[in-house]
Symmetry: D3
Subunit: 126 residues, 6 copies
């Protein structure tokens, strides 16, 4: 196992322990090695890097996914959960999403708020 894969798995053990298996079940038959690649690269080579704490990394991901637009809503929801697991509060997450009205436009921010509502208040969507 590469060092980066190990680091990615160590990180996910705390933050989202079922993610690699879920990805493997869903995608590895189609894309052999997809789950391992995502864990190694995304978590081992990015989130596990030093220099910025995990909570800030997660909030930056929230910001980027919101600014990129509503079609990233599924990934935004996963990362909202990961942000909570990394110690971010609901308020911090919401504030970062709303700030994105400045950079991704109002529709992007509103779609981001809707994604957050679906995570925070399941069954009470817009």
């Amino acid at each position: 196992m590469s060092d980066a894969l190990q680091k990615g798995r160590d990180l996910l053990a705390d933050m989202n322990p079922g993610l690699e298996q879920l990805l493997a079940d869903r995608y590895d038959a189609l894309v052999p090695g997809m789950a391992e690649t995502l864990v190694e690269y995304g978590y081992g080579r990015h989130y596990a890097r030093a220099g910025v704490d995990l909570k800030t990394r997660q909030l930056c991901t929230i910001a980027a996914l919101t600014a990129l637009g509503g079609h990233t809503a599924p990934q935004l929801k996963v990362n909202i959960k990961n942000s909570l697991a990394a110690g971010a509060s609901q308020t911090e997450i919401i504030e970062v999403i709303w700030q994105m009205a400045l950079y991704g436009g109002m529709p992007a921010a509103i779609n981001g708020l809707n994604a957050a509502k679906e995570v925070f208040e399941p069954g009470d969507g817009p």
Copy 2:
């Protein structure tokens, strides 16, 4: 003066004191009220909000502008300077930019690194 405009000006007094005048000189003849609107809305209604500290807000902006792509390089540079003024280190800024390879793709991350290099090492561009 609206409350939000006052809050925006108070915030910029520390972070980027010349910004409103620079915007007014450049744009207000074309777009009457542009500088005031940007300070009121952007800084008074967003950056001055409670709930997330200013440094984290700035790093989230860095993330979003990087993910949106290289055509936002001028605004990314302004916000890299604002992030330094808000207490972020060069390392934190660079780490957030590089992480965006995951969400905006490699070209977006590389264009973001190039913008940061131009701020950190003027005259030593790619």
Copy 3:
């Protein structure tokens, strides 16, 4: 109340009188002041400006939301209704959406047409 907020409310009184309350009900618990900010900034600071008539502003919004892609469909539908309220015909709205095939690509234009169909012919979606 700021001048811009008053102007935004005056404009919405004709065009979409329930919008501020709807936004407040949906978002203000999560993002205090969201509805007021959107009315003040979006309608008071942008749509209420002189220089371009409201119908043209609305058609330009239709164009932009279509070009930005299908993930802005919810906001596109709101703005199609606002465009009708501002005096635009169904034909004008459709023509502007279709023209966006040139700038946002065919998929963006087709997704825009689908959003318009859902507004004009509810219950008869694609």
Copy 4:
């Protein structure tokens, strides 16, 4: 009939014979001439050009729609079917989608894989 329209129809006769009629039924009442324009321009002026074989053109379309993001999923599904009709294998389609993680980011690639799963394994969505 223009030459380009004829070429477009000839191409679709093999690849997707019902497409022009489906577009006409769905859109021509709203946008007179839409179906003809799309066939003439899209298929006659682009896909029917010499210089690159049709299968490669289709895989390039898969790549672009994936990179542009999840809001083009309906068009991605149509083009996945067209790619199969042009001789591409499921593996080729999946590989091209996954490669887009590099250029459009992980969320775009994952949304593309989900669209492909819905085409390849109908009723077994994510």
Copy 5:
């Protein structure tokens, strides 16, 4: 010559008479037929359609290109000139660009204003 090509040429005769030749000189050796295709499709099949006047179509294009971001600046400048030729005032153009802060974000609007300044005040760029 197809009807659409004739319509496109008639329209450009007033608005931008040198465009087809300029495109042919620049691109036709690389992409045979590019200039004719762009005139036929863009101007004959879109701008020459009935239902919306040309000035409004041009302002909608300004809106879309601004919202899509600063990398469309070359095309935005061409369309700002076309908009003036179609009877739009500098004020109308500027107002539409600035409104896009709402939909494409502040950086997109500011990059659009910069493109307009370069058209209106050549030699006096930002």
Copy 6:
């Protein structure tokens, strides 16, 4: 060294032998490990995969970068060179770029053609 890194280096030895060193010189002081990560992930984990030949992968990258817009021009130029090295002809590259008018819009396609011209005809830019 991980398997993926080895595979990436093997691939680049043919296609673009100086790339890892160029990236290391330019970025590794800022982002420790950047060059290795890009080679391992981009080339080892994506381009070196089986299932699609390298030339087709490169043409798909050309398509995606064109559709994403003119701000990816630097990366588009690198990949145009890589595509030539992988056996693609100038015609194939140009055809794929022009086809993107359908999906990324005319401005994106034209910006892509300009990038290709700068590679094919250096010193003879638009």
